[in-house]
Symmetry: C2
Subunit: 223 residues, 2 copies
C-alpha cells in the first residue's frame, strides 16, 4: 500500500489524496513537517516538499504532486482525470498550474504562512495586512471560477478533471484558514459544494490541524 | 506555424523553445513583457505569465510551459523527451518541477529580479546581498547536478529528457546574468557544455537582452 508523507493542510497533498480516492487507490497517511528539515525527509525528496509517496513493498518513492498525479493517470486506468484531446488535456494542466502556482502564491500559501507557520513554528501572530491581501486576491480567483462555471459544467470542460481536484484542494485549505468569503460567488460556491459532497472529499473535511480550527461552514456540504 | 510569446531571458520559454527545436517543430518568436500587464496578453493567459503559444491558423492558444511540453509530447512523436516507464517519467517530471519551481525561486528568479526587472522596470540598482544569496544557492543545485551526472548519463536517467532541457534552460538564464561560478562543478560543467553544443541551443545563446550583457564564457561551447 502507498504511504503519503504529508500534513493535513498541505494543498498539494490534498490534491494527490483526492486523485487517489477518485481512482480507488488505497493509501496510508504518514505525518511529515517539511519545515522541520528532517534528514530522513530530505533523503526522500531533495526539494524538501510534501507530498512524497512511497510504496515500501516495491521501494518506489515519488515526489512533486504533478509528477505523482501523472504517474497514477498512466498506471491506473480507472476514472481518468486528465482525459480528452491533447488540447483539452492542456487546458486541464493549465488550470492545475494556475491553482498550484498562482493561487498558492497569492492565497493559500500566504494564509498557511500567517495562520499556521507563524503559530506552530515562528510563534508570532499573523499579520493582518497580509491576511487581508490574501483574502482580497481570493476574490479574483473565485470570480474566475464563477466565469468558468458559467461557461462549462466543470472547470476545464465537460467532465470533472484534475483541474477541479486541484482547485478544490487549494480552495479547501484557504477555506479552512478563514480566507474565503463565499457571498457574491454563487457559481463557484455551487461547484465547490458538489466537490465537497464527493466521497473522496470526506476524509479531508473531517481532519483537523492541531490548534487551528476552521470556520463552521468549512465541513458543511448542505450549506 | 506556432507563435511563442516570450522574452529572451524567460527560462520557461527557453524550455519550450528547446523542446520544440529537439522535436523539429517550427516556431516564430513574438515579444511579450508580462510585467507590462497588457490586456491583450492577459486575454491569452489569465495567469499573466510567459510563455504563451498560439497557432493562429487553428486558433489554438496554450499556456503554462509544462502543459505546453506535455502537449507536444502527446502530439509529436519525434524525439520523445518524457519517455520510459511510468516511474522513469515521474523522475523526469520531478526534476522538471525542481528546476522550474525551486531553482527559479532560489536562483534564476531572484537574478532576473535584481539584474533585469530592477534595470528595465524599477530603475533601481541590484541588491548585492540578494545577488550573493542567489549565487550561493546556485552552488547547491550544481552540487546536485554533479551528483546526478556521477550516477547517470543524463539528469533523469540513461537518455536525454525534458529534465535536461528544463535544467539547462534555467541554468542558462542564471549564467547569462552572471550567477553561475562553474569552478568546482566538473560534472555539471561537462554536462552543460554538451547541452550548449546542441543545435537546439544555438538560437538561445546568440540572443541578447537589450542593455544586459552576459559574461564572456556564456555562449562558448568549447570552453
Ligand atoms: N512542487 C511541489 C510543491 C509542494 C509544496 O510547495 N509543498 C509545501 C507544503 S504545502 C512544502 O513542503 N514547503 C516546504 C516547507 O514548508 O518547508 C508539489 O507540487 O508537490
Ligand atoms: N507556470 C508558468 C510560469 C511562468 C513564469 O513564471 N513566467 C514569468 C517570466 S520568467 C512571468 O511571466 N512572470 C510574470 C511577470 O513577470 O509579471 C510556466 O511554467 O509557464
Amino acid at each position: 500500500m502507498w504511504h503519503i508523507y504529508q500534513f493535513p493542510l498541505c494543498p498539494f497533498s490534498r490534491k494527490v489524496r483526492l486523485l487517489m480516492a477518485e481512482k480507488g487507490i488505497a493509501y496510508e497517511l504518514q505525518s511529515a513537517r517539511p519545515w522541520e528539515g528532517e534528514d530522513r525527509f530530505f533523503a526522500m525528496n531533495p526539494a524538501g516538499c510534501t507530498p512524497v509517496i512511497k510504496d515500501p513493498d516495491r521501494n518506489i518513492v515519488l515526489s512533486d504532486s504533478r509528477a505523482i498525479c501523472e504517474y497514477f493517470e498512466e498506471t491506473v486506468d480507472r476514472n481518468p482525470q486528465i482525459s480528452g484531446t491533447a488540447q483539452q488535456r492542456a487546458e486541464i494542466r493549465r488550470l492545475v498550474a494556475m491553482f498550484d502556482e498562482n493561487f498558492f502564491r497569492d492565497v493559500s500559501g500566504p494564509l498557511l504562512h500567517e495562520r499556521m507557520k507563524k503559530r506552530l513554528v515562528l510563534r508570532q501572530s499573523p499579520d493582518a495586512k497580509a491576511l487581508r491581501e490574501a483574502m482580497k486576491l481570493a476574490h479574483d480567483y473565485l470570480d474566475y471560477v464563477d466565469w468558468l462555471i458559467d461557461n462549462r459544467p466543470w472547470l476545464a470542460g465537460s467532465t470533472m478533471s484534475l483541474a477541479d481536484l486541484t482547485a478544490a484542494a487549494q480552495i479547501s485549505v484557504a477555506d479552512y484558514l478563514g480566507g474565503i468569503d463565499w457571498t457574491t460567488h454563487e457559481q463557484a460556491r455551487a461547484w465547490y459544494l458538489v466537490m465537497k459532497s464527493r466521497p473522496s472529499f470526506q476524509p479531508l473535511l473531517s481532519e483537523r490541524m492541531e490548534v487551528i480550527q476552521p470556520p463552521s461552514h468549512y465541513a458543511e456540504v448542505d450549506a
